[in-house]
């Protein structure tokens, strides 16, 4: 039973008069095996939530709980629990060590499981994961430079899976990719969720993409949650004016862009 929830989270950068409250009292819950879409514009604090969940930044207050354990703490229990949350980064070009063969990058991530892996076990696991993301396992010895952006993103997903996570956080994973590749990644994510029963926090500024993959939706602005609920319900009748504004700004194919009155 996976229970991932964030309670009254605050993330603050800097101190004193320069302090900036990136996440301001955010609470949300991702039900087991479901995808929660976190949508908002740049600076709305959505990526800070992801960084706090995997321990890259320390929240100034609040809790991030996985199965009841606060993973934002310092203890070894918190650290072990934190590794069951894995993150896929936005830019597949900087997310892989350019000097490390992709197989080694994936093998390195197996240590998040907390178990000891023999060399042979690691190799098996790497080729199994590469197959899962539809990359030829015989290419495990190649450096990231030999792969396209879409392939690299699939490799970073394989690396995140190597830690056998219960929660997968996808932070803008398609925004650095071409539209034709975006579809491949989104399909893969859906497929993986179906097969592995992953709980997913899907972060994006693209409302159409979030709508496509998410069961539930959470709209953020200026570090606060402005609206949350079932995806279809929220989009059909947005309760918050900001959600409505976001919806209006999405270009719809076949329709003239609604730019209001032009002089």
């Amino acid at each position: 039973m996976t229970d991932f929830q964030i309670e009254n989270l605050q993330v603050r950068y800097g101190s004193g008069s320069h302090a900036h409250l990136a996440v301001d009292d955010v609470s949300l819950r991702v039900p087991e095996g479901r995808t929660l879409g976190l949508v908002g514009e740049s600076g709305s604090g959505k990526s800070s939530i992801a960084a706090a969940a995997v321990g890259l930044v320390r929240p100034s207050s609040g809790a991030i709980r996985l199965d009841g354990v606060d993973v934002s703490g310092r203890g070894s229990a918190a650290r072990a629990m934190r590794r069951r949350i894995q993150l896929v980064f936005q830019d597949p070009f900087s997310a892989l060590d350019p000097r490390m063969p992709i197989g080694a990058s994936i093998a390195e991530a197996t240590r998040a499981t907390g178990r000891r892996w023999s060399r042979a076990e690691k190799a098996d696991r790497v080729s199994e994961l590469l197959q899962r993301v539809h990359i030829d396992p015989s290419r495990a010895g190649e450096l990231p430079g030999a792969f396209s952006g879409g392939q690299r993103q699939r490799i970073t997903i394989a690396r995140a899976l190597a830690g056998e996570p219960e929660v997968l956080i996808a932070d803008e994973i398609t925004s650095a990719l071409d539209v034709s590749v975006q579809g491949v990644i989104l399909n893969l994510l859906r497929e993986l969720q179906g097969d592995l029963g992953l709980t997913v926090l899907f972060i994006s500024h693209n409302l159409a993409v979030v709508r496509y993959v998410s069961h539930e939706l959470c709209v953020m602005r200026h570090g606060r949650v402005v609206e949350t609920g079932e995806t279809e319900a929220v989009l059909a009748s947005p309760a918050d004016p900001y959600t409505a504004e976001l919806l209006r700004a999405v270009p719809v194919l076949g329709e003239r862009l609604d730019l209001g009155a032009t002089a």
Partner: protein, 591 residues
């Protein structure tokens, strides 16, 4: 892997590479075998032959004990090279430790350590070397320790900077998330990625160390008699430079050549930017060039307005090529035909690498060396862009053509106020007074929806937000009498709500001035929603063009259909996988 090795091979096979490798090979052989082969000869004293000049028997002459100077130079290679390498080794090894240590220390200790390194950096390293050699006394080991220790601060600083930058990369974050400890991160990720720059700097440092030893020995602080290195030989030779110049020039040549070779190593190993990056950066550099060039153009000749032609911009059989990795030309755009009517809003949609941006650059006459543009016809309002530009044509382009790029930070000059950048073109080209130009700039900013334009004119680009900068770029285009605005992914870096506002401003400006717009984006929904006509580009070819409002109905080409199908929109069926674009470019519906 192959892609990683072949550039290195190419560099080693270049004339510089071959020279460096052979040269260093010779130096190393001398260092190993020199003392064995010439050691006895170099030590053999012969009073009869003392202080001889250069001759066939003694090319560099002999010293006051009658020892052959050439033999001494050759045999002295080992000491000189060992001292230089030893000192470099000390500097690099301890520099790595001191440079990496702060990245794993708690904040207070980190500050103290980096502060200490910064303070040490403030001392000239020769001064440090002299200081240390005073401590360890005038001996070869003392000099090596002195030069080695004196080099530590520079390497520590370099390592710290490299490590800090690498520590900020996503792949290091990813390693931390899976539980790789600080030491593991340093060894597995930081060091391999810092190795390149380190190697380059170590080579330069070795060259410097070699010179320092020559200097220290020359001053009598380094190697002591009866030991000898090149610096010591130089010191002995210099006293008799008027009698036997070769006794000083010989060791001098050895020092200079070895130093040069070590410097060349850094040249060979320095990672050159990939050619793609070169071209991109080159283009970025070019972008404002047209503007700057046109500003300087003579404003004396009256502006001959071209006839209100039926087309603003026309290209027939447009081909654009750039140099490829192997030096040959790679054609990126293969015969594009395009006409833009006055006031028309045309969109080009395509993925990265489809050639949409360079097509637009060519239409604006902005592709310069090493890019090559050929076409049967390439005109902007009567100006032949294939012909060499004249002051008149430059001026016309400067006033009638406006560009808006994805990242306005690179096309706005950070050192000039927005007001100055807006007014410059019209002041030069139209000769309007500064006050009038400023008034026009104020109106232009107001017309793109920038509040408080008077105050904004006095601000610098960095004081503007992303959306504001794009509006300022559009305003800059409106200052002249624009006939075409080329907007290359103008809203890709912006949030959707800001995108909508910027497009509102662009649309309003277009309606106001009846200018044509060439709008480029990877987002087919955005292009179709904003433009009258849409061109779909793939691999340097326009595969289809059609009216924007007929896109859904009339699209024939499989790639266009695939582009439409593969992007999720607000009505996509969430229960089914998205169609994806197959290898052929046609849509493939997953079962």
């Amino acid at each position: 892997m192959a892609a990683q090795i072949s550039p290195m091979r190419a560099r080693l096979a270049s004339p510089v590479g071959v020279t460096t490798v052979t040269g260093l090979g010779v130096v190393l052989l001398l260092a190993v075998f020199g003392p064995i082969l010439w050691g006895t000869q170099a030590e053999a004293t012969s009073v009869a032959d003392r202080l001889l000049g250069a001759s066939w028997q003694h090319p560099f002459g002999t010293d006051e004990l009658g020892r052959d100077v050439l033999a001494r130079v050759l045999a002295g290679t080992r000491t000189s090279v060992l001292l230089a390498l030893g000192a470099t080794g000390i500097a690099v090894a301890l520099g790595i430790v001191l440079g990496l240590l702060p990245t794993v220390l708690p904040r207070v200790l980190r500050r103290m350590l980096t502060g200490l390194i910064d303070i040490l950096l403030a001392f000239p390293w020769l001064l440090l070397a002299l200081f240390f050699s005073a401590i360890w006394g005038a001996s070869a080991t003392g000099a090596m320790l002195a030069v080695g220790f004196a080099g530590i601060p520079a390497f520590a600083r370099l390592n710290y900077t490299l490590a800090s930058s690498i520590m900020g990369r996503d792949y290091v974050r990813a390693a931390r998330i899976v539980g790789v400890g600080p030491l593991g991160v340093l060894v597995r990720h930081v060091l391999p990625n810092a190795a390149g720059p380190l190697l380059v700097n170590a080579a330069v440092h070795a060259s410097g160390a070699l010179l320092s030893f020559a200097g220290l020995s020359f001053l009598g602080l380094g190697v002591q008699s009866p030991e000898y290195d090149w610096g010591r030989l130089l010191r002995e030779g210099i006293a008799r430079i008027y009698v036997n110049p070769m006794a000083a020039i010989g060791p001098g040549i050895a020092i200079v050549v070895t130093g040069l070779l070590l410097t060349l190593v850094s040249d060979v190993f320095a990672t050159t930017p990939r050619r793609g990056a070169l071209i991109r950066n080159g283009l970025r550099g070019l972008r404002p060039a047209r503007r700057a060039g046109s500003m300087r153009a003579a404003s004396a000749s009256p502006l001959e307005l071209a006839d209100e032609a039926a087309v603003v911009s026309s290209a027939r059989e447009l081909r654009i090529a750039f140099p490829g990795a192997d030096g040959g030309a790679v054609e990126r755009v293969h015969g594009v035909d395009l006409e833009i009517a006055p006031g028309e809003v045309v969109g080009i949609v395509g993925e990265s690498g489809s050639g949409k941006s360079i097509t637009a650059m060519a239409l604006a006459g902005l592709i310069e060396q090493p890019g090559a543009v050929t076409a049967d016809e390439l005109r902007f309002r009567g100006v032949d862009l294939l012909a060499p530009s004249s002051p008149v044509s430059k001026r016309q382009l400067g006033l009638e053509l406006a560009m808006v790029f994805q990242d306005p930070l690179t096309s706005l000059n950070p050192a000039l106020t927005i007001g100055r950048q807006l007014t410059e073109a019209v002041e030069v080209h139209e000769g309007v007074s500064r006050a009038e130009a400023r008034e026009r700039a104020r109106q232009a900013l107001a017309s793109v929806g920038i509040p408080d334009p008077e105050r904004r004119l006095g601000q610098y680009p960095h004081e503007f937000s992303g959306g504001m900068r794009q509006r300022a770029m559009i305003a800059m285009g409106l200052m002249g009498s624009p006939r075409l605005i080329v907007a290359d992914e103008p809203t890709t870096a912006l949030d959707v709500t800001v995108q909508r506002q910027v497009l509102q401003n662009l649309r309003r400006a277009q309606a106001l001035t009846r200018t044509a717009v060439l709008f480029i984006s990877h987002d087919i929904a955005l292009v179709a929603g904003f433009c009258d006509r849409v061109l779909v580009m793939k691999d340097g070819v326009v595969v289809e063009q059609l009216a924007a409002d007929r896109l859904l109905v009339d699209a024939q080409h499989p790639y266009t259909k695939a582009l439409i199908a593969c992007v999720p929109d607000m009505t996509s069926d969430r229960t089914r996988p998205l169609p994806v674009i197959g290898e052929t470019g046609a849509v493939r519906r997953a079962s």
